[in-house]
Structures are given as C-alpha cells and as structure tokens.
C-alpha cells in the first residue's frame, strides 16, 4: 500500500443524540424555529409611507441600511466562518453554519427593502457611500483584524459579540424611530426579526466565550477583559462619530447614543462582564423601547408599581406535556 500523508482528517459524523453541551441543541432549536425570509413581510405596504419621507430622510435611511448590510455581509462571509475552527463541539459548528446563513438572509433583506421602496440610482449611490465612509470602514477594519485566522479564538468571540450585540444598533435605531412615528412600519417588522436573531447570536457566542474562558488562568482572563473593554472603547469612539455624521441633521444623535450605551452594556453582559456605561447614560427614549418590544410593557409588574394593577399573565403558548399540574 502506498504511504499517503493525509493532511485533513475525516470529521466524525455528527450525532445530535450525543451532546457535549446542551446549549448547542437549545440554540439550534431556537434559531431554526425562528427561521424566516424577507418575503414573509409585506414591505410593499410601506411604499406610500416611504414617499412621504423627505429626500434627506430617504438618503439617510438607505445609507443606514447599506451600513447594516455591510456588517451582515462581514458576519456571513468572515465572522461566523472564522469561529468554526475554534468550535469545541461538532454541534457548535452546525449552529455557526446556521448563524452564517441567517446573516446572509439579513443582508439579503435590506436589498428587498431597496427593490421595493427605492430608486436604483439612490441605492447605487448609498453602496458607493458605504465603501467610502471612513467610520463604517474603520469599524469593519477593527473587527476584521480580530477575525484574522491567526487571532486568538477568544478575541474572535469578543469581536463577534460586539458586532452582533453592539455595532448594529446605530443602524437599528432609525427604523425603530420611524416606526414610533407610524412610518415604514412593515420595514420595522422585518428589522425586529433581524434584532431577534442577533440577540440569540450574541448570547450564544458570548456563552461559548464564557465556557472557553473557564479553562484559562486568572491572569489570562484579566488580559482578555482588558482587551474587551479596550475594543469596545475604540468601537464606541467610531460609532459616536458615525452617529453624529448620520443623525446630527435630524437632531437625534444624543438619543441614538443613549441607545448605543444601553446596547454596549448588554453586549458586555453577553460576555459575562459588568456594564461600562452608567445607567444615566443609558436612558433610551421610551418611544424607541416601545418600538423595540411592542406590547411587552402592557403588563405592569408589581415592584415597579407603574400600573393601577398588575396582571397575572395572559394566555400564552406552552407545549410541555409535563407542565400539567
């Protein structure tokens, strides 16, 4: 027999009935149950609303969406695939393929919005703008540097969580703002589906970060934390300038920044770290919060005392047979 050196080992067939980490199946089930395509959302119902925006408002909206498209493209083609070689279980790799694909769906969705609502020339201009915009390019560069194959697996995860749970929000703010004014409400429905997915992505990658970190020494953990806080500072610096450039003409920059602070803290929590921004800097406009989770504040809770009475749950879907007292 010929002596052939095989450089690539044959992977083992994946067995979903033998899990090393239950979280893999939990997240797989949630992601697949939440699967959607942009065709599900009747975007054409926004045509009239779109025509009522000023030209500047339209330009801003298209630019914000091309910025979001770029982040989704990076996560689809570079970010999620870059995490795969570091996966600790075969199921984690499978979940990452799902994350990668959904990022492609997100990126594709913005083009559905464009083809439904916008003029081709406007869209082409915005894609050119995204290539030339220094802030957009700078934040992408910072993340991509960490996705480099030689980078530390845990630094890749930190960068990935910051992209998923922080960088999108300067963009997500705008459709929530329009929605709070009863504009582009179908587009906002589509964005909320993306926001829901990104929350699971950030949570899962942050969870895997925490698990991997358990094997490190205290000194190594401290070093990573220092790196994480340094990176989010640098990203925030760029985001603040990007925000001002886009939102100053509408007088919304400070409002957007509160939303950025709030989301930066949540990104850090996904990694198991404490908040960076003080709470007074995170007071998001209630109209934006209501657009983010419509209906979620209808039931007042007991401790807040914000309502005349608290409600003991409305009818909700449960499927567990053993949930039968």
């Amino acid at each position: 027999m010929k002596d052939i050196t095989h450089t690539r080992p044959v992977p083992r067939a994946i067995n979903w009935n033998r899990l090393q980490d239950d979280k893999d199946l939990e997240i797989w089930n949630r992601l697949t149950a939440n699967f959607w395509l942009p065709e599900k959302v009747p975007l054409s119902n926004d045509i009239q609303s779109w025509s009522q925006l000023t030209e500047d408002e339209q330009t801003l909206t298209i630019r914000v969406f091309t910025g979001l498209t770029l982040l989704d493209t990076i996560q689809n083609t570079v970010g999620a695939p870059a995490l795969m070689p570091d996966a600790q279980t075969p199921h984690e790799e499978a979940v990452l393929t799902n994350i990668a694909f959904m990022e492609a769906v997100h990126a594709r969705s913005y083009s559905s919005v464009f083809s439904t609502l916008c003029q081709t020339a406007q869209v082409d201009e915005a894609f050119r703008w995204s290539v030339e915009n220094e802030h957009l390019q700078a934040k992408s560069r910072l993340i991509l540097d960490e996705y480099d194959a030689t980078s530390d697996p845990l630094r890749k995860k930190i960068a990935s969580v910051f992209l998923e749970s922080f960088l999108f929000y300067s963009g997500f703010y705008l459709p929530m703002h329009w929605s709070s004014r009863a504009r582009l409400t179908n587009t906002a429905d589509l964005i909320r589906l993306i926001i829901r997915d990104e929350a699971i992505h950030g949570y899962y990658i942050g969870y895997k970060f925490q698990r991997a970190q358990e094997r490190l020494t205290e000194g190594e953990r401290a070093e990573l934390k220092e790196f994480a806080f340094g990176l989010i500072f640098d990203l925030y610096d760029i985001e603040a300038r990007y925000t001002e450039q886009l939102y100053d003409p509408l007088g919304l920059s400070e409002d957007v920044k509160a939303f950025l602070h709030y989301n930066a803290n949540k990104a850090l929590q996904n990694l198991g770290f404490e908040a960076l921004f003080p709470e007074e800097a995170c007071r998001v406009n209630p109209a934006i919060m209501a657009a983010l989770s419509p209906g979620s504040d209808e039931n007042h809770d007991f401790f807040s005392g914000s309502g005349s009475s608290y409600v003991i749950g409305k009818t909700v879907a449960t499927e567990d047979d053993d949930w039968d007292f």
Binding site: R211, D301, F303, T315, V316, W323
Partner: protein, 138 residues
C-alpha cells in the same frame, strides 16, 4: 423575609444577578433530569426566558420539573422574570407563563444580568413584599 429560588443556565446571567442581590438563594439544577429541591418555606422564583418567536419553550425544563412538585408550587408567592427586550412581545415571558399557571403575580422583569437599578428595586421590592404578607401558606 421569605426565600429565593432561581434558575440560571450556563450563560450565568441570572446567577450574576442573584449574586449582586446578596440574598440567600437556592439554585435549581442545570439539567431537566436532575431531582429538584423540595422547599419548606414560602419563596419567590427568579427565572429567565427561553421562548422562541412563537413563545414556545419559555420556561426551562428544570423550572418546570421543580414546579411540578406540588409542595413547591404551594409555597411559590411570586415570580421575577428576566429576558431580552430584543425578543419583543416574548420579553420575560417565562414570568407570564408561571404567573398564569401558578396564580401568582409577576413581581418584576429585567434584562440579562440586570442593572444596578434592577438590583435596588428587587431588593426593596422583596422586603416590602414579604413585610406586607403572611408567610404561612393559606
């Protein structure tokens, strides 16, 4: 003051919340097939949400298993639920599900590992809550 029981998965958000709360609390087992503890005193449950887009699967299996024990259910006085507002209408839905099933109030809701304000409100809220009610089961 009555007791505190919580579930926290490997992400550790709820565990960090409870740690900052600084009150004695019983952690439920991570896995659904583990034997749940049996409570002997009235308690409040802190529970994260795992719902999909349709609201299915909001309550973690170990919490269901714990509440399937009649003695535990009879001592449950209220639920504090956590989640992420990114999930829109299903934010902290585990609280609603448990409240409806067990006929107890949703006391509070917070996101992920909570903020300092959440910690202060829950600490004060629990004190008032236990101070104003009879601890012995009806």
């Amino acid at each position: 003051m009555g007791g505190l029981v919580y579930f926290s998965s490997g992400s550790g958000n709820t565990a960090r919340f409870v740690e900052r709360l600084g009150l004695p609390a019983t952690r439920l087992p991570l896995r659904g097939d583990a034997v749940p503890p049996v409570m002997t005193d009235a308690f409040v449950l802190i529970c994260p949400t795992y719902a999909d887009g349709e609201g299915r699967g909001a309550v973690a299996k170990p919490v269901i298993r714990f509440l399937n024990v009649e003695a535990n259910r009879s001592l449950l006085r209220g639920v504090i639920a956590s989640g992420n507002r990114n999930f829109g209408e299903t934010f902290a839905m585990a609280g609603q599900v448990i409240a409806r099933k067990c006929n107890v109030p949703v006391l509070y809701r917070f996101e992920l590992a909570g903020t300092d304000t959440d910690i202060a409100r829950v600490r004060d809220g629990l004190q008032t809550f236990w101070g104003t009610r009879c601890l012995t089961p009806a």
